[in-house]
């Protein structure tokens, strides 16, 4: 499915990452990443395993602390926020974990109710139920409402995890490998869902992946991490021009030289 062109307000960056550096002991993972994400835009961040893609979004949500650089989200400097302010900011950001991270001991309904019950204390039981039904319909899995996560397939778990990120209607969604470990058909369904979410919720997204089909289908802009920083950035076609050697190593494997 070809990505539909949506209006992106390029005057209004909602994420501003500047000269971001992160190391673990002697291992320098990020060496100076800078980029802006605009309202309504999807940026896909590609990179080899261990290149720091997931670290980047964990830094953005405040799960990790950078060594240098700054991350400004919705006008707030993430590193300078106190616990309460960080929690308030997190309510505006959805995060899809690579392994879905659904709570094993809760049903699908309880998984979806969890962020609502804890963060929207003024909602009634009926309103919570309505919100749950609505997001489940959006991801096409209403029938799983009373099932446990262990009873779901990998693709269904991913969709439920997306539903959980959507239930608080975030302005920004961070996807960590949304199609990892899924078959090609389910991958396409997830890609379509990401595009539907962008369109319906007007959310901006950072999509971490090494799946080029996902990148091509969902990204308004693509960036490739090389040596800890964005080596190439632009449209899918720009990044994968023949002369971009590192980018083409990716391309050749994913599309078997059918450029």
């Amino acid at each position: 499915m070809k990505k539909e062109a949506l209006y992106i307000d390029r005057t209004n960056p909602i994420i501003m990452v500047s000269k971001l550096e992160k190391s673990f002991g002697s291992l320098q993972v990020l060496t100076g990443i800078s980029f802006h994400l605009y309202r309504g835009e999807n940026i896909v961040v590609l990179g080899r395993s261990g290149s720091g893609k997931s670290v980047l979004i964990k830094l953005m949500i405040g799960l990790l602390q950078p060594n240098k650089g700054s991350i400004r989200i919705l006008g707030k400097e993430v590193q300078e926020l106190g616990v309460k302010e960080l929690q308030e900011l997190r309510l505006k950001i959805g995060f899809l974990f690579q392994g879905s991270a659904l709570y094993d001991s809760m049903t699908v309904r309880e998984n979806l109710a969890f962020p609502l019950v804890r963060n929207k204390r003024n909602l009634t039981r009926t309103q919570i139920d309505q919100a749950i039904v609505e997001v489940l319909e959006n991801v096409g899995l209403l029938q799983t409402i009373n099932q446990m996560p262990a009873q779901l397939s990998g693709g269904q778990r991913k969709r439920i995890a997306i539903a959980r990120t959507l239930i608080l209607q975030p302005e920004i969604i961070l996807y960590d490998e949304p199609t990892a470990g899924l078959d090609p058909v389910t991958c396409m369904e997830i890609n379509d869902l990401i595009n539907e979410v962008q369109k319906k919720y007007k959310a901006s997204s950072v999509i971490i992946t090494h799946d080029l089909t996902c990148a091509k289908t969902t990204g308004d802009r693509v960036a490739l991490i090389v040596d800890g920083k964005f080596g190439y950035e632009g449209s899918f076609a720009d990044v994968f021009k023949t002369e971009n050697r590192e980018a083409n190593l990716f391309y050749d494997y994913n599309f078997i030289n059918e450029k």
Binding site: R90, A101, F114, N119
Partner: protein
């Protein structure tokens, strides 16, 4: 270490022994910092109390009953040699209330509850469920750790008192088989030998044991690492370390209580 913005990719407890002690100290400090600050996770605390307390009842009942019977059976012959079997109720009551009930309950809880907490939190850590809680603006430490430590700290003493009672009933049944001691007579005789300090120290001991089991299980699980192997290790360490600490604490508290006992 508990700081969500920490600088380590892997939150595993430090290998260095002293750093590890410092990490545990900070973990306990964080518990006390957060336990009195709202929001209070009442629903989760009740659920954990149910899991720790109610779900251990059958095991505690059976163990307490058997210990009462076996201890009485083993104590009878030496006392009988001196014609002192009338001391049995007093001896058994002292042994069960002062030492056996809190210690055995703690060991059972360390095995059943401690391993469960270690494995559950470890698995949640490994599958990023704890991070998921954090990014959905929930304090996972308060929701998962504080509630579990409160549950073990309150339920282990209750289970211990219950086990003491069941143990005494077991002891009575054994005595009743051999002698015509009445139920009331047995308990009157037994309780004459038990002072307030015995019951109080037993309760304090159980509170300390419960807290230790909760902290150890939560610490091992919350900072589990190295995938599924780490989950197994967390569960195992939760049991081994809690049992070790329970014995050390038992020894220390006995010394303190004995020093407080009137000569």
């Amino acid at each position: 270490m508990e700081d969500p913005k920490n600088n380590k990719m892997n939150d595993a407890p430090s290998v260095n022994f002293f750093t590890n002690i410092y990490d545990i100290y900070r973990f306990i400090l964080r518990f006390f910092r957060e336990v009195f600050v709202p929001p209070f996770e009442f629903k989760e605390i009740v659920k954990q109390c149910y899991d720790v307390g109610y779900r251990s009842l059958a095991l505690v009942t059976l163990t307490g009953f058997i210990i009462g019977i076996v201890f009485t059976k083993q104590s009878r012959p030496p006392l009988a040699e001196f014609g002192a079997t009338s001391w049995l109720p007093g001896l058994i009551s002292i042994a069960i209330i002062r030492a056996l009930a809190p210690l055995i309950t703690a060991l059972i809880s360390a095995g059943k509850v401690g391993s469960n907490i270690g494995a559950e939190l470890g698995s949640m850590k490994e599958t990023e469920q704890i991070d998921a809680m954090e990014v959905s603006a929930t304090n996972p430490f308060k929701y998962l750790v504080v509630s579990r430590i409160i549950a073990t700290t309150t339920m282990v003493p209750i289970l211990s008192l219950y086990m003491g009672l069941i143990g005494l009933i077991g002891a009575y049944l054994n005595i009743h088989q051999n002698e015509s001691t009445s139920f009331m007579g047995f308990f009157q005789h037994g309780f004459i030998n038990i002072s307030f300090l015995d019951v109080f120290s037993s309760l304090i001991k159980s509170i300390v044991f419960g807290f230790t089991i909760g902290v150890t299980g939560c610490f091992q699980g919350y900072y589990a690492s190295k995938g599924t192997e780490g989950v197994g290790k967390a569960a195992n360490a939760a049991v081994v370390i809690s049992m070790f600490l329970v014995f050390i604490e038992e020894m220390l508290i006995v010394q303190i209580v004995n020093a407080m006992r009137p000569a």
